[in-house]
Every structure is written in C-alpha cells, then in structure tokens.
Symmetry: none
DNA sequence: AATGAATGAGGCTTCATTCAT
DNA sequence: TATGAATGAAGCCTCATTCAT
C-alpha cells in the first residue's frame, strides 16, 4: 500500500505541473521511485489513476469541510464554515485543489459516475436548501446557488494565489469575500 | 487565406472536443480538408496555432463587448452591457468560449505575452475604476473585482449550458444573475 | 498435483483460443484459480509449460490409439483402427488436437527432443512397414506414407469440424475417408 | 511504393522465421531499411500488414496456378496442372507458402472476409465439379475433395522439404504423389 | 507448495515536424 | 503555397519472471 501512495503523490504533483497529457506514466513511476510496471499493477490504466486520484482528493476535502460545518449551529455559520474552510483547505492543499479544478474542466469529468457526483454535492445542496427554507437566502434553483458559490471560491482562490498575499490580508480577504457572497445571496 | 481559416476552424472544434493533446495536427489537417504539411506552412508549430487561435477569438469577443458597452451612457449600464453581452456572445459561440476557458486553465497561458493580457483587460479595468470612483461599487482592488465578475460569468454560463435552458428563462436568468452580481458589488 | 492439473487445463484452453503468445501466463494462472507465481513453481518457464502440455497430450493420444490398434488382428484392421480412432479421439478432444497441431506448426517443435519424436512415431512406422512387407500397400518411404496418413487425418478432421456434421454422417464420412486413403495406398 | 514493398518483403521473411508475435514491428522496419513510423504510414496496424501480405501472396499463387491450368485441355490434365504447379510454386516460394500455412492455422483467418475466401476457392471448386460431372472422380462433396487435395499438397511439400530432395527425385515424387491422389479420387 | 506485489525490458502505435516534389 | 510520404522520439501498456512472506 506504500508504493501505491507514492504513485498517487507523484502523479498529483506532476499532473498539476505539466497537465495530464504532459506527464508520462514513466515519469510518474520514476518520481515515485517505483518500476514502470508497478504503476500498472495498481492502476489498470493512466485514466484509472487519474480518476482514482480525483475521487480520493475530493473525499478528503469533503470530509474536512463537512466536519467543520457540523461544528456550527446556525445556518449562516454553517454556510460560512463551508465556504471558508473550503478556501483554507484549498490554500493548504494547492496541488490537490488545482488538480480537482483541472479534472472538472477536462473530458475526465465524464468518466466519473454521475451518482458519485450527486453524492459529493449532496451535503452542500441540503445546506443551501436549509438556508433557503429558513429565509436566509433568496429562492433560486439550488444548483444555481451551488454553482455560484463554487465558482466564487475558485475565483477568490485564484486571486489570492496570484497576488501571493500574506497570512493576515489573506484571512481578511476571505472574510470579506464571504460577506460579499452572502450579500449577493440574501 | 481560405485554407488558413479552414484550419483554424477545424482546430477550434477538435480542441474543444478532444483537448489540445488529444487532437493530432494530422486530424486537424484532415478535418480542414488540407494536406498534412499545409498546416505547418501557416503555423510554424502546433503551439503557435493554439496561441494564434486564442488571440483571434479573444479579440473577437472584446470587439463585440466593447462595442456594446460604448452604446451605453451611464456607468451601471456599461458594466451591465459588458456582463450581459459577454454571456450572450459566449452562448452564441460556445466553442470559442470553451476554448478560451481551456487555454486560461492550461500551461499555454504562460505563452501569451503579459502585455497582451494587460491590453485585453484594460478596458474592463478602466470601467471598474470608473464605477468605483463614481461610488457605484465598493472600493476593492480592481483586479479582485475583475476576477469576481469574470468568474461569475463563467459560472452562469456553465449553469445555463448544463440545464439547457430555453430562450426566455435564459434571458431572465442572465438579467437576474447580473442583479445578483451588482448587489454583491455595491 | 491438483493445481498443476488446473494450470495445464487452463493453459490448454487459452492457448487454443488465443495462441501461445496471445495468452499471458497471468491469464492462465487466473483462469486456473491460482496465484501468479504458482505457475512458475510447477513449470520453470512458459516454454516448459507448453512443451510439457504437448508431451502429455501426445502420450494420451498414443496410448489410446495403440490400445485400439492392438485389439485388431489383421494388418489392414490395425491400420484402420489407428486411423479411425485417431479421428475419434481428435473429435472427442478438439482442444487437445488443435493444440498439437499448433505446436507442430510452430517453432516449438524444435524444442522437442528428436528421440521423443522418433519414439512417438515408432509404433506407427512399424505398422506401416508391416503393411508394406505384407504386400498390402505400395512400397514407398515409410516416412512418406506416415506423413500422408497424418495429413489426411488432419484434413478430414478439419472438414468435419467446419461442416459441423451430425453423429451418423460423421461416422460414415470417417469410414469412407479411410477407404479413400486405403485405396490410395494399395 | 518502393518502401511499401520493402516492408512487405521484410515482414514475410521475419514472420516465417519467428512467427507473428515473435517479430516486432520495429524489427520489420529495421530490416526493411525504413523508419519505425513508416510501417504505420503504409499499414494502419500490424494486423493489417499481416492480412495484406496474405492476400497479396495468395493472389500471386492463384494467378500462377490458374494460368498453368488453363493451358491444359482435358480435365485430368487441368487438375494435375493445378496440383503440380501449386507444389512447384510452393517449392520456389517457400517463405510465401509457409506464411500462407501459418495464417490459415492462426486466428488471423477469421479476419479475412468470407467472400475473399470464397473467391479464392472458386476456380478450384469449379474444376472439381467439372471432374466430378465428367465422371473422372467420385461423387463427394466438392469442399471435401478440395480439402483433401489441399492437405495432400501440404503433406508432400513438407515431406520434400524435410528430406531435402534433389531436383530429379523431387520431380518424381511429385508426379508419383499426384498419381496416388488421383487414384484415391477416382 | 503458494502467494501476489514488484520488476523492467520490450512491444505497438501516435504524432509533431520535415522535405522533396 | 500545397502536398503527403517519411521520420524517430516518446508514450502507454503487457508480460514473463522473481522474491519476500
């Protein structure tokens, strides 16, 4: 199980740095300190490796944000926790976050089972519904809201990265940007 | 100049459908009804073709939105025109819009001269500044605002595409989503 | 000894269906319900497995035809028994017969010790000699006769298989084809 | 068209010497004095190369025997010409003949269009029919006769090769073996 | 004897690019 | 400009075999 992890780790870094097609499986193996064939012992194809990596990372993120959101009591705080901790996680795991972004904008998304995607969105969608029913935010299609929030996070993340903000202004910007978002939704 | 256009057109479609690395230059040539080598008479390399395509498309979009924005008199209307006509153009030119998205999330962005990028953003940034100085929107880094607007457009575009909305609800959603954005920014 | 048999059985089927090079040792192991490495405990190499399989099968066929031929008293009946029971065996053991054919037309034949081959042919050659000396068949090189008989059997076998004959016409054809052969040789 | 021929020629030799799976496409290219990729410029896949080679060779053989058979007037002479010149051709083109044998006993046969096979047999089948209707040979399924003749040729060919016969005894054996065959069929 | 993870050489094929016509 | 045959590096993957458990 050790080598498998090494492979996933190496793959993550290389995929982000050079793209899916830009990184050869042989490079991944080499970087992981593993024989060429070992990669294919653990993952039938390069595609399978990519998908597996995506699912693993997505689950990590969801576990984290879910945990944080559940600590909150009122609805706005839950939404905020969801938003903010996603950003924190993203900034703490830039490779992982970039990779997820790469996937969702590539043809690979279509290889992820639809149920998997539904399952991933489920908690967030429920939270949005709760906020809508509680009168906290406007009545709009939940999918639409979910989309706006996700994209908003992505935009802020990108901005912070590009500007290379320090810890304090970073935290401030994140707080501020959530308030912008919340203002938009209420 | 005819064949050159055929090549660009074929390339656009294939790049969007199969990605940059997924489409061979030979396929592009074939699709364009052109000999294999002809492609390389017009574009020194595959990369040059990609960049050229991007710049052409970007210019088309900017010309269009600029023209629409200039028809408006007051600031909010200008911003709105910018926002809305970008979306309309995107929905009318899905291949082109997708392609631009693909580029901006790929390593190819780094091959686009920085001045080019600055030039592209210039008009939008000036408009944002104008709106900020006129007290219409909050004082925040212009880059940040620009980022938020751009990403917002992308999010709405994606949502519309996924939901396959009809003409009327589409128009309504676009209007509505601009109001959301504006609310956020003011 | 159980797993060894499973391996040989699986190998036989796969070799016939997909050829020697077309079937991976791992597939054989899998099909035999055995671990990958187990195969190499029983057979040092893939080649050894192939040769072993061939020798086993050849011995089975020879034992069977020998036994049948010995039940006969006069020479023609012996030759006939040899001919007919080879065909019956072949039709009862199509995988085994195919496999033998595959081997004899592949470079693997050269890996079978010459003495082994001599030994295998011995009984048949002696029978042919007996028939020749008894004046039943023409005086021609025994090897040549042996060759003609063998190939004749193969031809009839192939024809029966291709035409998917029923039991009765099959038996008739076999009898008839022996008479043709005999007519040729006398 | 030159390189294409070189490739076919090199492929023929190597396939016969080392089998289909035993010869790498890179070896073929190298042997043909051609770049690796050139092979795939002329043949989409290794399989296509194999099939193409088979069809080319088969056509050569058929052209030759057809031509010889048509020179004969009476039926037996036609059959004999067919038989004997096939053997001569085989002995003059051992690589080609071996290759054809290899194909017909491999899974590749199934990739040859059935009509193609029918077309190839057509002339021979018609000749057999003619001989049968003329009362020269026994009334048996034409396919069966065709099969027996073919296999007979193959047996004699193999025998001659193994024994490395000189020109004169070779010719004698061929004549003699035809008489054996004819005796069987009448 | 049995397992199955690990190996790495080698196979087939793709593809951007060149060049003689 | 246009063509398309030719190139050869590089990619993905397979597979016989080994070895620690």
């Amino acid at each position: 199980m050790d080598k498998r992890k090494d492979i996933l780790q190496a793959a993550l870094r290389l995929f982000v740095e050079q793209g899916f097609h830009g990184t050869a499986t042989s490079k991944i193996a080499q970087e992981a300190g593993v024989a060429n064939g070992t990669l294919f012992h653990h993952f039938k194809t390069k595609d399978e490796l990519i998908i597996r990596l995506y699912l693993d990372i997505k689950k990590q993120l969801l576990n984290f944000t879910e945990e944080q959101a559940q600590k909150q009591k009122n609805t706005k705080e839950k939404v905020k926790a969801h938003y903010i901790y996603t950003l924190y996680w993203a900034l703490d795991h830039p490779l992982e976050f970039h990779f997820m972004q790469q996937i969702s904008l590539s043809p690979f998304v279509n290889q992820i089972p639809l149920e998997e995607i539904q399952e991933q969105k489920k908690a967030a969608i429920e939270l949005i519904q709760e906020a809508m029913e509680g009168g906290y935010i406007q009545k709009l299609p939940t999918d639409f809201i979910h989309n706006l929030i996700g994209i908003h996070i992505f935009g802020v993340y990108q901005y912070i990265l590009k500007k290379e903000l320090e810890e304090t202004p970073k935290k401030e910007l994140i707080e501020q940007s959530f308030e912008l978002l919340w203002k938009m939704l209420t």
